[in-house]
């Protein structure tokens, strides 16, 4: 399939043209029109990730879906981060980056983040679990075991910065040393029309 350049209209209609649909009084100016880029990001979320100072890969992209929660409208976005919590240690904190919105709070409505570890000397292969305490992690013995400490994504404000600056972290800790790979995949909503800027840490 031919792929239009990133911001062309998907159906190839000039955005300045107002077409009237048969049996409808709506013109294009009254419809929500998506670009090809927006449609694809609606399907996959952030797919181009930058490299940060801790070698983490991360990015944010707008999703096609909009929400109307009791009369308040929201746009939706996707945050992704890929990183390794290595070398093995009892504590790991990775700064993913900041999500700065023009106005309003951000609300994380979905979390599909995954943890992958090796289990070569255990049952074999790799383990994959949702990011949480209890997710399988490994160590130098290459045997996966459930983490019994804490494992979560932290959304935090920075003292002296405006509340609209949301710093994002991966936080994991356990009594024994551990390591694993982390794939963060979360959706959040913000008030409709506000700006969203991501700065990788």
């Amino acid at each position: 399939m031919a792929v239009p350049s990133s911001n062309e209209q998907f159906v190839g209609i000039s955005p300045s043209e107002n077409l009237t649909e048969r049996g409808s009084n709506l013109t294009n100016s009254k419809r929500q029109t998506y670009t090809y880029e927006e449609l694809m990001s609606g399907a996959f979320g952030a797919t181009t990730l930058d490299v940060g100072t801790q070698a983490q890969l991360a990015g944010v992209s707008k999703l096609a879906a909009t929400y109307n929660l009791g009369g308040v409208e929201y746009d939706s976005y996707n945050l992704k981060c890929v990183t390794s919590l290595t070398p093995e240690a009892t504590t790991h904190v990775v700064a993913i980056g900041s999500i700065e919105v023009g106005a309003g709070n951000i609300f994380f409505i979905s979390n599909r983040s995954n943890i992958e570890s090796v289990d070569f000397s255990g049952f074999g292969g790799y383990t994959n679990n949702p990011l949480n305490f209890g997710a399988m992690v490994d160590d130098a013995a290459e045997v996966a075991r459930p983490l019994s400490g804490v494992f979560y994504i932290n959304q935090e404000n920075i003292p002296t910065f405006p509340i609209e600056f949301n710093a994002m972290y991966i936080v994991a800790a356990d009594a024994a040393n551990f390591e694993c790979d982390v794939y963060v995949d979360m959706d959040f909503i913000v008030q409709k029309g506000t700006t969203v800027e991501f700065t990788i840490a």
């Binding site: 904190v93 309003g104 400490g149």
Partner: protein
Amino acid sequence: MEETLIKVTDVKGTVLKPIDATFKVEYKYEGEAAPEEVLVGDVKKGEVKGDDFPAPDAEKDLEYSEIVIDVKGGVKNLPYASKTLKFIGKVPPKGVPTDLPFTGKKPETKKEKVDAMQAKREDLLERLKKIYPPKES
């Protein structure tokens, strides 16, 4: 049913959920020297909840009502100023936003943002190490 009586926000309408602050509501009646405190407490998760603001004394004329938001000091608190909102001749409307002014510094460069995020990361890591001490591999 409990409703949001006061929404502690910045001027953009963002709820200041983590803010450490107290509030009081005062009613000042005509002919009285000082306002009367009718409600007081801590701001919880950026809100003050309750059934309603207390009804004013029906025997007196309400000159004005006031909401006083007192933001506590401390380097870890959000950088917003205390504020008093005045409502002439009426009790405050339910759910009123406070529009607290920002007193901090908006980061202007990527380096400022990254440095601040890394400083916070190191602080969090050190606090975790106290609970989960490092071990030899």
